[in-house]
Every structure is written in structure tokens, then in C-alpha cells.
Amino acid sequence: MKATCIMCPLGCELVVTEKDGKVCVSGNTCKRGEMYGVSEYTHPVRTVTSLVKVEGGGVASVKTTKPIDKNRIFDVLGEIGKLTAPADAKIGDTLLSDVLGLGADVVVTGMSK
């Protein structure tokens, strides 16, 4: 499998192969790239960022604290869409723990007001 690493702006072109049940990555220039190659081959994940309403007006940007299963991005966005942040929310506040049991929380990253 060929993949462009997204861990940093270098965007190394990875080649991921499987031999005797072991996943091998080449083309990376760092450890994170190797980990990304393995992850992308076995279980691709992505961090989700989005927006929620704020009580009383305005919007707050949010993110998942960990990358989640790439196939579940829209399910997670659906759950995020149901949230409303309190007016006094601060950056780092958790709005939803363990979204859909995927192991990541949804936290506030910015407030528009």
C-alpha cells in the first residue's frame, strides 16, 4: 500500500507491506511516520474537528482528544452536532467523554465570543 504520511508537513511517501504477518513501513523519515504507516494499513484513524453552538449565542470550536476510526468520522460529527457548550466554557473543557465508545473525548479548542 502506498500512502502519504500526514504526521507533519514533510508528507513522506510511504510504502507499507505485509510479510509473514508483520507490517513493514519504508519511505518514512521519523518514528511517527512509521507508526502512521502501520496505523493507516491496519486501522486508519483521524482527529475530528468541528463546531458547536454556545448557550446564549456564539459558537465554539472542538476536537477529539485522540484520532478515531476513519470510518466513523461522520458518526462522531453527528454526536458533536447534538452538543451545546455552556456560555462560560473554557479552552480544554470536556463537552463529551468517550464519544461513541471510541476512546476519545470532545473538548473545546476555542470560543468565538
Binding site: 502519504t4 504520511c5 500526514i6 474537528t49 463546531l51 479548542t109
Partner: protein, 410 residues
């Protein structure tokens, strides 16, 4: 007339880092920002990808901005919000206007320009066809979405595959719009490769290189557009025009450093970067006037903006205190596949300095060299070099024997 050692114009990542660095180096600093809060463009960049180099931790734009905003709030920097600088005058004075302070006149020991960029607009690219509602720059669509909660359309076409266009392709898709097509005039994207993957490939959004929009259709609102492939001369091949329906067109067709304040001042500008020509200290051709961040040259990574701004802020503080003493000037020139190298002047002396550059095309297995007085003092092979990814070389100044440094690609 308010007096400060250093006045910083612009409170985004460059301005905040410059102000903090100037203060750390002993200056009394004022930071002027036209918006209601600090943070600049980062406030609307709610995606991940910031801080990996500077904080060794990946975070979103607002989080990166918040780290600096908190440091500024805990410092002795005077921050003037909703304050628009109208002009820079002789003797490093500036005039600004604010609804709370009224007309503000400042005399500074040094001024740091950190105004960032604006986007190239629909008017600037002269799209044929109607003038309907529904045409936005990608950054405006981002602002309306991420700071106001508006979706500017449901069926989107994006012109330009630079980072803003790519990021908005993903953003609009996340909020329920259908991004039907991304068109790119060049045969390659000017954005980061990882954005092609995580913004287009992940969502199956098609990208057509060497294509452009040829005509807008619809009035009073956009209902569709015509697009066509372009030849090597970048002119559309109209016989191959195709139609696609859409209710919004997002333009990601270029960032322009916001140097309007400098008109008439006689500051030496670079036609390649559209920013000021600067030396190693990020000082422009006007003594005491410094420039950093996107207003100097368009960056890809905010981490580099921060490093550059810290350098400019420190230099400004030292200049204001009469401590800035550059050595012998060495002119830096770009040649071959290198489109520009910055700073355009470095100084002989000890230690090392970093020269940033961009290439003019996609190059594979090319060698970047720095040549001084006929001698190659730096050489590095790159497997890929792309225009959309700024590079840097660390120059050992002790190896500089002449007054000319050529940065070239072989």
C-alpha cells in the same frame, strides 16, 4: 503622543510572538490589533496541524493562539484592541484609530510590521459571467463558518488547491455540504501534500489539475459554472468547457501580504514575495522598521512565523536600545529553481543563520546549494521540493568569505 520602545502592528501569531520577544529583551511594548481580540487568522483555523515544531505537540489554531494570548495578557505589553493603524510617519511614529481610545499617536523606538495577508478576490481574477451571490474567498467562507456558524452553500466548487481551499473542502463536507469539485490552475497543488490526503482523498472529493473556472452562471445567486482545462500557457481550452451546478464557489487563489501601510514610504519591496526586503534581523530598508510573519512572506507553518517574529521582536528591542550592530553585509541571491531566498541580506560574523526559500516548480532529487565566492558552503539533496513547502538552510557564517551568497538548485 504615547512613547514606546517597540510598537507592533498586528496581533496575530507574528505580532504576539514579536511583542513577547521584544518585552523579554527589555522593551516597553505596545501591540495594536484591529480586531476585538488577539489571535489573528488562527482564531478561525479550527483544524489540527499547529505547533508540532514549536510546542512539540499538535493542536488547533485557536489553541495555538491562546497560548500566546495568555502570555501577552500576563506580560506588561500594552494591548490596544479594535485599533486600526492608519499610517506610519517619519521618525517611527504611527497614527491609529480606535472606538475606545479615539485617535492614537505613538512614537516608537522601533516598529514591527505583523499585519499578515489578505486574500486575492473574485474581482482580481476577473471571472467571466454574472456577478451573483455565492462567490466567496475560502477564508471568508471559513470565517463565516467557524466564527459565526454559517454555511455559505450546499453544493460547493472550489477554485484553487492551496491549503485554504483544501481545508475548506473538508470543513464544508463536515458540516453537511457537498463539495463537488476542486479545480487547480497549475499542474500541481501549492498546498501541503498531507492536506490533499486528509481533506480530499479521505472524502473522495475530485481534484482537477490544470483546470480553471471560465464562466459564472446565475443571478441573483450562483446556480452553476463552466470550467475547462488549460494549456501550458494557462489559458482555457474553451472547446472542452464543461458545466457543473453549484450554489457556492470558494476561491483559494492567493494570499497577498497586507503592506498597504507602507505605500509612499519608500520601503524597498520584493516583487517575488510582495513583502519588504529585509536583513538577517528582519529590518527593512527603513532603519528601525522590522517585518515578520505573513506580511513579510507567506508561510506554510505558524511555527516558522513564531520563530521569525521572535527574531524580529528581539532585533526591534535591541535597535530601540541602540544595541543592534550588524557586521559586514552579505547579499543573498536566489537563482536557478529557487524562486526567492530570505533574508536578502545576512551579516558576516560568528554562529549560524537560517535562510528560508521557496522553489519555483516541483523538483525531484535536486540539490540545494549555497555558494559564496565560488565556493559551495552548503549542499543538501532533497527527494522532493515543491513550491507550496517553504524550505530552510542553516548557514555557518564562519564559512562566508565574500559579500555575495547565491542560493541555487541543481
Amino acid at each position: 503622543m504615547r512613547r514606546y520602545d517597540v510598537a507592533v502592528i498586528g496581533g496575530g501569531p507574528a505580532g504576539m510572538a514579536a511583542a513577547l520577544s521584544a518585552e523579554e529583551n527589555g522593551a516597553k511594548v505596545v501591540l495594536l490589533e484591529r480586531d476585538v481580540r488577539l489571535g489573528g487568522i488562527l482564531n478561525q483555523c479550527i483544524h489540527q496541524g499547529f505547533g508540532l515544531h514549536y510546542f512539540k505537540e499538535e493542536m488547533t489554531g485557536p489553541e495555538y493562539a491562546d497560548r500566546f494570548r495568555k502570555r501577552v495578557e500576563n506580560s506588561s505589553i500594552d494591548v490596544l484592541l479594535e485599533c486600526m493603524v492608519l499610517s506610519i510617519g517619519k521618525g517611527l511614529t504611527l497614527t491609529a484609530l480606535s472606538p475606545t481610545e479615539g485617535l492614537v499617536e505613538i512614537k516608537a523606538g522601533a516598529i514591527v510590521l505583523a499585519m499578515g495577508c489578505r486574500e486575492r478576490t473574485a474581482g482580481a481574477i476577473m471571472l467571466p459571467g454574472t456577478r451573483p451571490a455565492g462567490v466567496y474567498t475560502a477564508g471568508m467562507a471559513q470565517k463565516l463558518c467557524n466564527l459565526e456558524g454559517y454555511l455559505v452553500g450546499r453544493e460547493i466548487v472550489i477554485l484553487g488547491s492551496g491549503d485554504i481551499g483544501l481545508i475548506m473542502a473538508r470543513r464544508m463536507t463536515s458540516e453537511g455540504a457537498k463539495v463537488k469539485l476542486v479545480l487547480e490552475l497549475a499542474p500541481y497543488s501549492s498546498g501541503l501534500k498531507r492536506n490533499i490526503v486528509q481533506c480530499l482523498d479521505d472524502y473522495g472529493i475530485p481534484l482537477k489539475y490544470s483546470h480553471t473556472v471560465t464562466r459564472l452562471v446565475g443571478s441573483p445567486r450562483l446556480t452553476g459554472l463552466y470550467y475547462a482545462p488549460v494549456g501550458k500557457d494557462k489559458k482555457p481550452i474553451l472547446e472542452k468547457e464543461e458545466y457543473i451546478s453549484c450554489d457556492a464557489l470558494l476561491l483559494s487563489v492567493g494570499l497577498i501580504p497586507e503592506n498597504d501601510l507602507l505605500s509612499g514610504m519608500g520601503v524597498e519591496m520584493s516583487p517575488v514575495t510582495s513583502g519588504a526586503v529585509v536583513d538577517e534581523n528582519r529590518m527593512t530598508s527603513i532603519a528601525g522598521l522590522f517585518s515578520c510573519g505573513n506580511v513579510l512572506h507567506v508561510h506554510d507553518l505558524v511555527d516558522n512565523v513564531t520563530v521569525e517574529a521572535e527574531l524580529a521582536g528581539k532585533s526591534a528591542a535591541e535597535y530601540a536600545a541602540g544595541r543592534l550592530r550588524p557586521g559586514k553585509a552579505v547579499k543573498v541571491r536566489a537563482s536557478g529553481g529557487v524562486r526567492y531566498a530570505l533574508p536578502q541580506t545576512i551579516y558576516a560574523g560568528d554562529g549560524a543563520t537560517t535562510v528560508y526559500f521557496r522553489v519555483s516548480d516541483v523538483f525531484r532529487n535536486a540539490t540545494l546549494q549555497a555558494i559564496c565566492g565560488g565556493e559551495t558552503i552548503f549542499s543538501k539533496k532533497f527527494s522532493v521540493l515543491a513550491p507550496g513547502e517553504m524550505g530552510s538552510v542553516r548557514i555557518d557564517k564562519s564559512l562566508i568569505k565574500g559579500d555575495d551568497l547565491e542560493v541555487t538548485l541543481k
